[in-house]
Symmetry: D2
Subunit: 336 residues, 4 copies
């Protein structure tokens, strides 16, 4: 932590800052120049309330230096985390694809899609039972009935299931029936929910909030991990920007940045990021080339009649072709 002092700050004022920070058992050092005076703090500064320090009259600014995510960060955990789930592996060089419809609609629909995506090479079945919709009047998902249909699809295909949890009310059902609990973008900073889910110690797919920084995503993962969860998969799914040609802006540079900062696997969702099915294949391939550990893709057997997000779902046919290309790109990227 670096404390930058205002020019011409009085010595007795500066003294009060010294006293405030010394309590925290850190190494304090002066850096003085002609026009700038700074105080450098080294050691464990995580407990120092930066904002309160900024409140001292003689302080211009306080800059953080250390990262605050000890469990999610690579610093103390250099090796890649590999998430294993009913035989499927994701992370540490194991690439995997999650696919399925935006929302579970009928047994027939979910079974048919599950079989199609399995045949094409997907390793996880995704499908929404509880749907976060911006309008209270829109279809909100089948709820627990949807969960049951997912379980049936798992029985028939062996694919582990990924589905979104929106409320602690359904924790028990999810603990029992779901393989990978998805935390949606809108709940990425629902800290109460993160604490509860962390305690389940099940694999979690944590989606980046629409306007969350990479650091905030890592801090949300830290909430899960501080609760005991070890298998967190981070998901880049587009951020909100001024551009309106796509629903969100897929931030693929987040992939190599995350791979640098954390040992957790990184998954990319080109369907929600773009909001348009025709852009999904190229963005999926770009995600693979950027170094992602996995993809999550919406596939629907009849997008025109889908109860939600039809515009962004690809058909099983398009998915099959895409999986073939993904395989080729993965091969091309392999180090010899």
């Amino acid at each position: 932590m670096i404390i930058i002092l205002k020019p011409g700050a009085a010595q007795n004022e500066i003294q009060t800052v010294y006293e405030a920070v010394r309590r925290y058992n850190v190494i304090v050092q002066d850096i003085k120049g002609e026009n700038t005076s700074m105080i450098g703090l080294a050691g464990d500064t995580s407990a120092i309330p930066r904002e309160a320090i900024e409140r001292f009259g003689c302080v211009e600014r306080v800059m953080k230096v250390q990262e605050a995510y000890k469990l999610a960060g690579r610093r103390f955990h250099p090796g890649d985390t590999v998430v294993e789930c009913r035989g499927a592996k994701l992370g540490g060089g194991r690439f995997a694809v999650m696919a399925g419809p935006c929302s579970v609609e009928t047994e027939e629909q979910i079974l048919s899609v599950a079989q199609e995506i399995k045949r094409a090479g997907a390793s996880f079945l995704r499908g929404g039972a509880f749907k976060p919709r911006s309008s209270p009047y829109a279809f909100q998902g089948l709820g627990l009935d949807g969960l049951e249909l997912l379980v049936i699809a798992r029985q028939k295909t062996g694919l582990p299931i990924v589905t979104e949890l929106m409320s602690a009310e359904h924790l028990d059902a999810f603990a029992r029936d779901v393989d990978v609990i998805q935390i949606g973008a809108r709940n990425m900073q629902n800290f109460s929910l993160l604490k509860e889910v962390g305690g389940l110690k099940k694999p979690v797919l944590l989606k980046r909030g629409l306007s969350s920084t990479i650091e905030e995503l890592l801090m949300a993962a830290e909430y899960l991990m501080a609760g005991g969860c070890t298998d967190v998969m981070l998901c880049e799914r587009g951020i909100r920007t001024f551009e309106t040609a796509t629903r969100n802006t897929l931030d693929l540079s987040a992939v190599p940045v995350l791979k640098e900062k954390t040992h957790l696997p990184v998954v990319v969702d080109p369907s929600h990021a773009t909001g348009r099915w025709a852009l999904v294949p190229s963005m999926a391939l770009a995600a693979v080339a950027s170094g992602a550990d996995g993809l999550i893709i919406e596939v629907h057997n009849s997008p025109e009649t889908a109860l939600c997000d039809g515009a962004q779902s690809i058909t099983p046919h398009v998915f099959r072709d895409l999986m073939a290309k993904i395989g080729k790109v993965l091969d091309a990227l392999k180090e010899e």
Copy 2:
């Protein structure tokens, strides 16, 4: 709703779109020009899944025309909503200020601040018992103990209390003890929580999400109102942009835009928006001049030692001066 067709779309393809939309009992009209063909839909189009329509091969784009917030919108409810709470009024020409510390720390602290802000003219006491913090290692608030201290402060001052609910787990305590339930920016689209809170039929202060559009804020209010809540106060508290000189960018033009679109009162939070106490007075005055119905301001008797958000809290002394200026600006704006 307007459906824009691709140039050169085949007539039989267009026919399938007609069939799809006719089911919804809307008036369908063709608009044909040399290079563009469109289909105009009038009537109640709220049930038509826009995204699925965009999936048709011959459709280029679908544009929404109607607003989706029937209860929050001014269209069917032209008069201003006035929120009343233990004698305090906010909205429809009644300006009111909510003030207090970021978090409740001790009985002495909350009592002292409550008395100070009351004397200066505030009408509501705000204070955090449950705190959403981006780090799991940061102070998370006193929880239910904090709620008790707020109740004591209300007994002593008569000020209604405003505090944030982060989880449905505490619904009963909030229903019993809290006057205005605050939904924080990070939970603005926690739809499960919105549904539960809406059912309480208590006044709610709904904060705009960091990257939520004005329309999404209104849709979140619609969730509360669809559940039975009538007294929703909307709160502009800064949006996330590229600018880093302030914590967020206070979007004051949201105030007149909201006043146009909705009958609900609009409150501005200059403390969280700017993140720096020195900017709070000027932004508070600007909010008043922009037409806001109220303000929510962080006041702390000792910001340097505050357990959170010290950098953005003003002292009771600064608050007193600000209240005097706010009074003068309100007078200046009065229509004769």
Copy 3:
């Protein structure tokens, strides 16, 4: 400047960084803790190429501490700059309004508007002769003919004229005929133009770019001032964000931030920021309350037939009422 080293950096590597920075005649100090090592640099670090330092293998990050705007900054020039122009004053407690049509259309139009706004209390006449339009097929302004009409309007009313320069080609004409040269948002970082205009030593109204930070705005002013210009007025005119309810998002907190950092006057443009005339009065008043030194407002006698930006122009009638309210708010804000 603070250089943060990677954990476990080898001493000989760190040595090469020392050597690189010592050349710049700065004070170099070590800050060492358990997990972090930093190098603090004090003195004049403006010549050190931060990016090249970040390229060293053992360097994690480099943080700037000093501001780079010596001429625009308050540090070495604490007193407010007041811009004077044909008797009109703006800055340092002198509030002034610039008003007029988006583009000059006819002699009759510009004369009529000029007389109206003068009567209402405006101090400068604004009007576009050269118009930056996003389409090459849109009306591009009357060019030099428009400039002539502005000169006529100045002769008749005595109001100094403010108009946008888009190309160095017209430098001579602007040097001769224009009182305040406007640099538009799209040219804020047209550094070639800034250098040429700085050399004219005339007052400049410098508009903030749509996605420019406050620091970049100050650096653009520094370009003008390094060329010899002393009378730069900075103009906040809305930044680009995700919100689409207004054309841009007016960043009023930029006003107090700028007043803190620079001695230059700050002007707010509510017309371009919002893009909708009905929002102009409330945002103008909010700007006044935020501490702005002036306003620039589009006024058109017949907005429905305006050749550009009709949607954001207010009528002379609305302007008159607004000026009266502005006067009252200014009075209310005065310190006794």
Copy 4:
């Protein structure tokens, strides 16, 4: 164009709107429902001043339907444009790489880099002679001397040269010496410069502005093309967002969106987008996979001593490895 009327608009008011739009020789159609009334306009609506229409009292909103880029758009020019330049081809299935240092520093440096990148497979040499720098005190490039060094490098290697033009002052020199004129992000809406450059009819590399929409980028291309230029290459180089982990956010979904909307080739600049050399290879590969027609990459033989942008330049060695991988990914993507 669709004109949405306010609910309850009076018939005589609506009549004035009809009259206003009928002048433009378009087909006018009513769309009436219970709560909404709209007027649909078909035909060539490009001359209708949308903003002025929004100014009518009975109009709620005006929505554009047609695209305004006739020359750049695919609608009237379905086949891909291929840019040819001294034997190098880019676009329409011909992938090409531009590489070189941020700025030309010495003859030795530019020659050495040029030879290295040619050997690795680059087709164009890029290098800055005129540098847009946010500080007036930073190195501004060698200017015309830099141009001369580029010409020498071209003579020795045969590589066509790409360099940025910042001012019309140097048009003649660029017309004579430069193969591809680069318009930088900061000048993307410098319409005066665009008009002048369009008239040269030379290939142009047009960089997307930091906060420009895809539509604005296409309109800037339209300015060049309206002036006579046919060989415009569009360059995605990162947009400004709230994320600070990378300098800008590379918007790769712009690639397939542009390929859909325009026949012009699309080039991606991973160096400026990320600002960090370590992220360049993965983003370059992702750009290839997204369907880009080319890349522009900064390569410097000694990034630690580079006069600008050292942090984002890769060494010739890293470039060679990257080119090999790019070749493999291109092969993997080929349709059989």
